[in-house]
């Protein structure tokens, strides 16, 4: 391979910019243990049922994909510090 490596960006883990926020959200929402179950939470005296966390996670993933696409045009080129 021919090359020099000018394109390395170090993002850390602290959500200091938009791309880092996506990194953080990706880990918090998509990595880790999932407990499936039914949980009942009362809100203003009405019992609400969490039918399953996967439903929520899927919709967040979709939202993140849309956020990434929307930011696509504004993403820095490789090698640009962010």
């Amino acid at each position: 391979m021919s090359e020099s490596s000018a394109n390395i960006v170090f993002a850390g883990n602290d959500a200091s910019d938009d791309l880092s926020i996506l990194d953080v959200l990706d880990h918090v929402l998509n990595a880790g243990v999932v407990i499936r179950g039914t949980v009942i939470i009362s809100l203003a005296g009405v019992d609400l049922i969490y039918l399953g966390l996967d439903v929520i996670l899927t919709s967040v993933e979709t939202a993140l994909r849309h956020m990434q696409q929307a930011q696509g045009a504004a993403l820095p080129k490789p090698g640009t510090a962010v």
Binding site: S2, A31, V34
Partner: protein, 215 residues
């Protein structure tokens, strides 16, 4: 009362627990079968629960990072809400063997991630046939793997283990790194010789979720 779960650690790990969890609630540990799960009370009608998901998830990450700086953790995805502390105990009891094995596998390790990407890998769509498409994908995978191999060489002994996952825009490479070796890992990546048209994004340390199970 419903509880929000953060992460699981070895019950013996000495942790300086963050003062407050989400909604400003106190974080407590539930010990069961050699594991400790950190939770805080969760009230759906608490005004703090109206915080946007993004802000709450970022706050959740800050709490996880406080734990991760001190010991190996198995994070729970945000938002994991259980009916009460008894459900947490029951969950730990049912999965104790699996999580103890996972924690012993990662020990004092954290996960570093490197995303490889290139505009050329997003797919040009000019392939005229299925065979051409497959050949293009094969070439793509070969090149990504070749670059990943260069990375593994550069990282060397700074990582105890690595994994790769191909994604549409390139690849995600995961490394299990001793907490004490993170700076060495970053330094080694910095010196890697990689193609100039490839974007390399390094992030972490993260909980070592990719290494909890043996492949």
């Amino acid at each position: 009362m419903a509880v929000l779960a953060y992460c699981i650690t070895d019950a013996e790990a000495q942790i300086d627990v963050p003062k407050q969890g989400l909604q400003g609630k106190k974080i407590e540990g539930i010990v069961e079968s050699g594991l400790r799960c950190y939770i805080s009370n969760y009230t759906a009608d608490d005004p703090a629960s109206k915080q946007p998901v993004r802000e709450a998830a970022l706050a959740f990450n800050r709490i996880l990072q406080t734990f991760l700086r001190q010991t190996a953790i198995i994070p729970l995805r945000y938002p994991t809400v259980l009916a009460d502390a008894n459900e947490v105990s029951s969950f730990l009891r049912d999965h104790a063997g699996e999580y103890r094995d996972g924690l012993s596998r990662i020990r004092d390790g954290v996960q570093m991630e490197i995303r490889l990407s290139s505009p050329a890998w997003s797919g040009s769509g000019v392939e005229n046939s299925g065979a051409q498409y497959l050949r293009a994908r094969q070439a793509h995978y070969r090149r990504v793997n070749q670059i990943a191999e260069e990375l593994y060489k550069a990282v060397g002994l700074a990582a105890k283990s690595h994994k790769i996952r191909q994604v549409a825009e390139g690849a995600r490479c995961f490394f299990l790194v001793d907490r004490a070796a993170v700076d060495q890992f970053v330094g080694n990546v910095r010196s890697a010789k990689l193609p100039a048209d490839v974007g390399v994004r390094v992030s972490g340390p993260w909980p070592a979720t990719e290494f909890l199970k043996e492949d």
